[in-house]
Amino acid sequence: MAATQCARSEAPVGTPSNPAPGPEVNTNQIKDVTLRLIGTGVSQINEIRNKAQEDLGFKLDMRALSTEENNQIAITQPNQYDIFDGEYFSLPLVVPSGNLQPVDVSKIKDFDKIVSFFITGKFDGMPVETSQGTAPFKVMYLTGPDSKEFSPTPTGLATLIPFQYNADTLGYRPDLVGRKIESWGELFSPEFKGKTSIIDIPQIGIMDAAMVAEALGLMTFGDKGDMTQEEIDKITEILKEQKAAGQFRAFWKTFDESVNLMASGEVVLQSMWSPGVTAVKAKGIECVYAPLKEGYRGWGGGIGLSKNLSGIALEAAYEYMNWMLDGWVGAFLGRQGYYSAVPENAKKFMSPAEWDFWYDGKPASEDMIDPFGKTLEKKGAVRDGGAFKDRFGSIVCWNSTMKENTYLVQKWNEFIAS
C-alpha cells in the first residue's frame, strides 16, 4: 500500500509532474505576514509588539480599544482583525457571532503547563473552584470545530489561550482612610459618604455591587454570575438608595479615570483594577489593593483566532500564541501585577527578587520597577494579598455576561439616571 503510493507520487524532481519548488517560495513566506490584533490597552503595548516582531520575524499591528469597543469590533467587524485579545466574559457574546475559530490545543506547546484552573477547572480545592460568574474554564472549550457551544469538559478545541488575569478587589488610600479595609461592605459605609466610587460598566459594576450587598447581608443571590430579574431589581434598588444618599463621589469607566479619582483624593475607596493601583503608586501616592475577607472578583484575558485566518497566517498566529506563553510577556505583564498563564515560564524572565515579590508574596528584597521604568514598591514592601495561590485561590466570582444582560443594562441605565 505504502509502496504503491510512493511509486505514484515520486516522479523525479524537476519534471513537469513534480516541479521543483523555487528555493525562495517557502523560506521567508512568514516574514510577509502581518497579523492584526485588537485588544484592550492592558496588553496592546508597543514594547510587547516590538519584542514579538523581533523574536518571531513577522509583523504585528495592534489596536488598543476599550473593553466595549473591543467586543463591538469582535462581533460586528470580523474582517478587521486576525487575533482577538479579549476577556473570557466577552465570550458568551463573541462566540455566538461565529467570528472565532477554535484553537487546536495540540499546537500549543505549553498548553499543559497553563494554570490548572483554566484548563481543568481545578485549583487545589480552593474557593476559586466553586466561583460564580463567567469563570474562564466554563467558556474555555467548544464542543466541535464549527460549534458555537461551550463544552463543560475539556475537548482540545479552545476558545482563547489565556495569558493574563488577576484577582480584583477594592483599592483605598490608607492615608485618607486611616484604618484597614477588610470587607467589601465598607464601600457603603457611612464613614466614607461622598468618597467612594464604583465602575460604570454594567457587567462589572453589578458584580462589585453584589459583593458589597452580600457582605452587608442586604441580600443574597442564587448565583451572582447569573442573576434573575428579581435579583437585578433588588440590587439596583440598593444602588439607587446609596446614590440618592450621596454615597458615591463619582463613577468611572476607564482605568485612567479611576487613577485620577484616587490620586486627586476625590475618592478614598473604590472598585479598582490592578494597573490603576500601580499607576497611583507610581505617582508616589500610597494605595492599598485590599485583600478582603469575602474574596476577590476575578477576570481573565486571552487570545483567540479569527475565522478568517488560514494557511501561513494561521501558522503565524499559532507561533504568536506559543510566544505569548513562552514567558517574556508573562514577566513583562507580571511587573505590573498581572499573572501569567504559565508562571513557570514567566519565572525564567524575572529576577528572583521580582518573582518572590509578585508571585510568592515575600517582602521585596530590592525596589520593584514596572516595565516602563517607574518604581512601584520600595524595598521591604509586601504585595497586597500576598502570594499568587492565596490571591487567585480566593476568587469567588468573575466578570460575567448573564442571560439577563439586556435587562441588566436597562436597569443600570435606570440607576445612572436616578
Binding site: 466595549e68 463591538q72 463573541v94 463613577f251 486627586s264 476625590e266 441605565n413 439616571a417
Partner: protein, 285 residues
C-alpha cells in the same frame, strides 16, 4: 448646445455636494431609522419590523427623567452662554475701534479649542476638586471649613463645562450680526434722543436676533447630544440622553440605541424649528 449646457450647469455643479450629503448624512440617518425597528439579543441584531424598542422607550420612566435632566442642561447652558456671549460680542463690536484688535480678541475667544475636549474637561479637576485650587483658596481665606464638594462632579460642574465648551458657538454668530449693523442707525437713534438702553432694546437687539438664534441652535443641538462632558464633569452620576445611548451602544444594544437616537433627533428638530419660528434667520444669510 450651449443652451442645453446652461440648463444643466447648476444641477451638475450641485451634484458632488448632493451626493456627499446623501451618502454621509441622509443615508446613515435612514439606516438608523431602519435599525431602530430591528430586534436584538445579547450579541446580534436581526432585521425585523418590531416596535418593541419604541414601546420600551415610551413606557419607561427613565426616558422622561433623562429628558428632563437633558432639558435642564440645555436651558442652563443656553442661558449662561447667552448671558456671557452677548456682552462679550457687544464689547468686541462696539468698543474696540481697531479692526485688527477685534480680530485678535475674537481669536482669543477660541483659546478653549486649542486642546482636546477631554483634556479640557479633565483639567477642571485640579481647579475644582476637593483638594483643588478653589477649595484651597476658600479654606485658606476662612470662608469654609470643609472643602466644597458641589464644585466638581455635580450639575454645576456639568453646566460650567458646557458653557466653557460651547460659549464660542454663541459668540461667533452674535458678533457677526452685531458687526453687520449699520452704525448710522445707532447715530440716527441717538439723534432722535434715544437713551443708551433704548438703542440697545429698539435697534441692536432686534438686529442681533438672527445671530442669537443661530447661536442658540448651535448650543441647543450640541447640548442635546452631549455625553462626554456629562460623564467627566458629572462624575458619571448624571444622566443625559447622549450618555444613555452611549451605554446602550457599549452593551451592543444597537436597535434600542437607534430608537433612542431617532427620538432624540425628532425632539431636537422640534426645538430647532421652534427657534426658527421665533426668529427669521434668513435675514442673516
Amino acid at each position: 448646445m450651449l443652451k442645453g449646457w446652461k440648463v444643466f450647469e447648476p444641477y451638475l455643479l450641485i451634484t458632488p455636494q448632493t451626493v456627499v450629503f446623501l451618502l454621509f448624512l441622509v443615508f446613515p440617518i435612514i439606516m438608523i431609522g431602519v435599525v431602530s425597528f430591528w430586534e436584538f439579543n445579547g450579541y446580534s441584531m436581526t432585521p425585523a419590523f418590531s416596535t418593541s424598542n419604541y414601546v420600551s422607550i415610551f413606557t419607561s420612566d427613565v426616558t422622561l427623567k433623562t429628558y428632563t435632566n437633558t432639558f435642564k442642561f440645555v436651558f442652563l447652558a443656553w442661558f449662561f452662554c447667552l448671558a456671557i456671549a452677548f456682552p462679550v460680542s457687544y464689547f468686541l463690536a462696539f468698543y474696540i475701534p481697531s479692526k485688527q484688535w477685534q480680530i485678535i480678541l475674537f481669536l482669543v475667544c477660541t483659546v478653549p479649542f486649542w486642546t482636546s475636549n477631554i483634556i479640557r474637561n479633565i483639567s477642571w479637576v485640579p481647579l475644582l476638586g476637593k483638594e483643588g485650587l478653589v477649595n484651597q483658596m476658600l479654606i485658606g481665606m476662612g470662608i469654609v471649613q470643609q472643602p466644597v464638594e458641589w464644585l466638581l462632579y455635580s450639575d454645576f460642574a456639568i453646566v460650567l463645562g458646557m458653557v466653557h465648551l460651547f460659549n464660542f458657538f454663541m459668540i461667533a454668530p452674535i458678533f457677526n450680526s452685531l458687526m453687520r449693523i449699520d452704525r448710522n442707525l445707532i447715530t440716527a437713534a441717538q439723534d432722535m434722543g434715544a437713551s443708551g438702553f433704548q438703542v440697545l432694546k429698539e435697534v441692536i437687539l432686534p438686529l442681533a436676533a438672527p445671530g442669537i438664534a443661530i447661536g442658540s441652535i448651535f448650543v441647543v443641538t450640541l447640548v442635546m447630544g452631549e455625553f462626554v462632558t456629562v460623564r467627566l464633569m458629572g462624575g458619571g452620576q448624571a444622566a443625559s440622553i447622549g450618555k444613555l445611548i452611549q451605554t446602550q451602544i457599549g452593551s451592543l444594544q444597537y436597535p434600542l440605541a437607534a430608537a433612542n437616537a431617532v427620538l432624540l433627533l425628532a425632539v431636537t428638530m422640534v426645538m430647532v424649528m421652534g427657534i426658527l419660528r421665533v426668529v427669521d434667520i434668513r435675514k442673516e444669510l
